[in-house]
Amino acid sequence: MEIPYIVTPRKDTGLFNSKIAIWLFLASEVMLFGGFFSAYVFLRIGADYPWPERTLPVLPGLINTFVLIGSSMTVVFAWASLKLHQWRRFQLFMGITVACAVIFMILKGIEYNVKFQHQAVRLKDYSVVEGHLGYEKVGEEYEKDHNGHKIEENRILVEATRVTFNTVRFHKSWVEELISQAEHRKSKIVLAEDLSAIIDEGQPPKTLAKAGDALSLELLERLQKAHLDARAHNGALRTAALRGEWKKANAANPGKRGWEIASGVNIDVEALAPKLLTEIGTVAFTVEPAARFDFQPRDVREAETQSRLRDDTLVDGKLLASPMVFHYVDAIDFQHLAMKAVEKGQDPMVAIEDSWLIKNHPFAKEAWEWNKGEVAKLEKKLIEKYGMDGKTGKPNREPTLKERYRIGWKDFVAKADGVGREKETIALKEEFMGPDYKGREAKHTFPHLSLPREQVGFASKFSPAWNTYYAIYFTITGLHGLHVIGGALVLAYYLFFGRKMYESNPEWLANRVEIGGLFWHFVDLVWIFVFPILYLM
C-alpha cells in the first residue's frame, strides 16, 4: 500500500504528514518539560533548606552545551546535504551528530557516577558534612564481609544474641544474608525452643520444628505456610460463627436496623476455641555464640538492646559503636544550621560555635576560624570595591550565604596551600571528578572525621534522596538523557540504514532526516534551559 503525503504536502495543511506528527509530539514535549521546569521553580521557592546554588561541576555541563549545539548544527547540515544529493557529506555530518550524542552521554555518565559515590550527612544540629566514606580495617587489612566485599564504614553493628522473624513479612534475601553473615562469623542461628502447633482441626499439637534446628528459608517458608493456613482456617470459622450470630439476632429482633442490635451480636469465643489452629506470627532463633552482624543504616532502626529491620525482624543484642567514618571530608556546610538559627531568632555565628562539629572536631574549628578570617577579608574587599550605601550605612555588596557559611574543598585546599580562593588553580580532572585526594596529599588537606551514630540526622549519597534539588536534577537531566539516547538511535538508523531509501526515494529520506532533526533541535533547546538553571543558578 502506498502511504500518502510522505513527500508531497497535503493541500489543506501545506505539510507532509510526519511533520504534523512531529510538531504534535513536540507540543506535548514542551508541556512535559514545562511541567518539570515549573516543578523546579516551586521546589526552589518552597525549599525549607538552603538551596544548593551552583553545586554541580560547571565544566562538564559547559562542554555538553557546546557538544549539543554543535550536533544541532551538524544535523541541519546533514539534512542540507541530502537535499543537495551529497551522500558522503550527509554521512559525515550525521556521523558527527551521533558521535556528539555519545560524548554527551559519556560526560553525563561520569557526572552521575561521581554523585553516586559522594556521601553527604546532615547532623542532628543541621550542620552538613560532605565527602567520601572509608572502609573498616582490622590491623592493616581491610575487613571483608561474607561476600568478600570491603565493609563501608557506614554500617549498623549489632552483637546479636537472638533474632525474631515475622513469619509473614520476612524478606527472603535478608534471611539469606543473615545466615551467611553468621556463617562468616563462625556462628549458628538456631531455633530457640521447640515449636509445636495445632495444624489439623481438633487434633493435638504437632511438633513442627525442634529447638536447635538451624535457620533456613525452607523452615521459615514452612512456618509461613502453616501460619497462613491457620489464619485462613480461623478466619473462616470466625466469619461463619459471626454470620450465624447475626442470623439469630435478626430473627430475634424483627424490624430492627443492624446498628441497633450490633452491640448484642458476639461470637462465643470459648465454643470456637477448640476448633482453632495455632497461628505462628513470629518465630525466635538464638545466635550461638553471639555474633556481630552489620546492617545498612537504611534497613534498620537501631536501639541499645533491640533493633528492628525494615521487614519487622527483631534483632536482640547490644548495639556496638557504629560510627560513620569519613576518610575525606570535602565540605563542611553550616548554611542550614545558620538558617535554622535565624528562624529561632538566634545569632547564627553563636549557633555555629555551639555546633557538635566545632566543639568535638579540632579540624572543623580550625577551618571555621580560618573561614571567618577569609570572610572578613572578603567583606573588606567588597567595601573597597563597591563602597557603602549612603542611606542605610550598609555595604553595597556582601558575601553570599555560601561564602559565609560553607567551607568547600577548594577552601580546604586554599587553606592548606596558604593561597587565596581566587588564585587557586585547579587541575582539569578535578573539574569533572571533584577533589583529587591523592594528588592533593589528602592527609594535610581534607580532614578525617568519625561521626558517632547518634549525631547522624540524615545520611545519603548525592542521590535523589538527599534533597529536592537532587531529585529534580536527576529527574530533568535523566529524562533529557533518555531523549538524547532516543534521538541518537533514530539518527543513527538514518545514517546506517538510509542508503537504500536514498537510492529509491531521496526526498523521503530528506524529510525523515528533517523530522529527526526537529526532535534533535528540541533536545538541544531543552538543554539550553537546563544548563543555566541547574548548573549556573
Partner: protein, 113 residues
C-alpha cells in the same frame, strides 16, 4: 522552506552564523555566572543574575526554534500546534504562580491567629 539548491546553500551560511551566536551566548552565560566582575545585582548571585541568564537562554532557544527548526517560515498548522502547547505551558505555569498566594505558604493560617 528552502528547497532549491541555491536557497539551501544560502541557508547553510545562516545556520553557521546562528551556531556561532549560540556558542557565543553560552560563553556569555558562563562568564556572567562565574566571573565576579560581571555579576549584576547586590550579592554575588541573586535574582537579577537568574533573570539575565534566563533572558540569554530564551534568546538562544528562540534562535534554535526560528532558524534550525524553521519556525521563521512555517505553515500555519505548525504554528497552531506548537503555539497551543506553548500556551498550555505558560498558562499552567501561571496557575502555579497564582498558587503562591495560597494560604498553605502562610504559617499564620495554621497557627489559628
Amino acid at each position: 522552506m528552502a528547497n532549491s539548491p541555491e536557497e539551501i546553500k544560502k541557508s547553510v551560511r545562516t545556520y553557521l552564523f546562528v551556531g556561532g551566536v549560540l556558542f557565543l551566548g553560552t560563553i556569555i552565560t558562563y562568564l556572567v555566572a562565574t566571573v565576579p566582575a560581571l555579576d549584576v545585582g547586590k550579592h554575588g548571585f541573586d535574582k537579577w543574575d537568574c533573570v539575565l541568564g534566563l533572558i540569554i537562554a530564551s534568546i538562544k532557544a528562540s534562535l534554535v526554534a526560528a532558524i534550525f527548526m524553521h519556525l521563521n517560515h512555517e505553515k500555519k498548522a505548525v504554528y497552531w500546534l506548537f503555539g497551543s502547547g506553548l500556551c498550555a505551558v505558560i498558562s499552567l505555569a501561571g496557575l502555579t504562580a497564582l498558587a503562591l498566594g495560597d494560604p498553605i505558604f502562610d504559617t499564620f493560617f495554621y497557627s489559628g491567629r
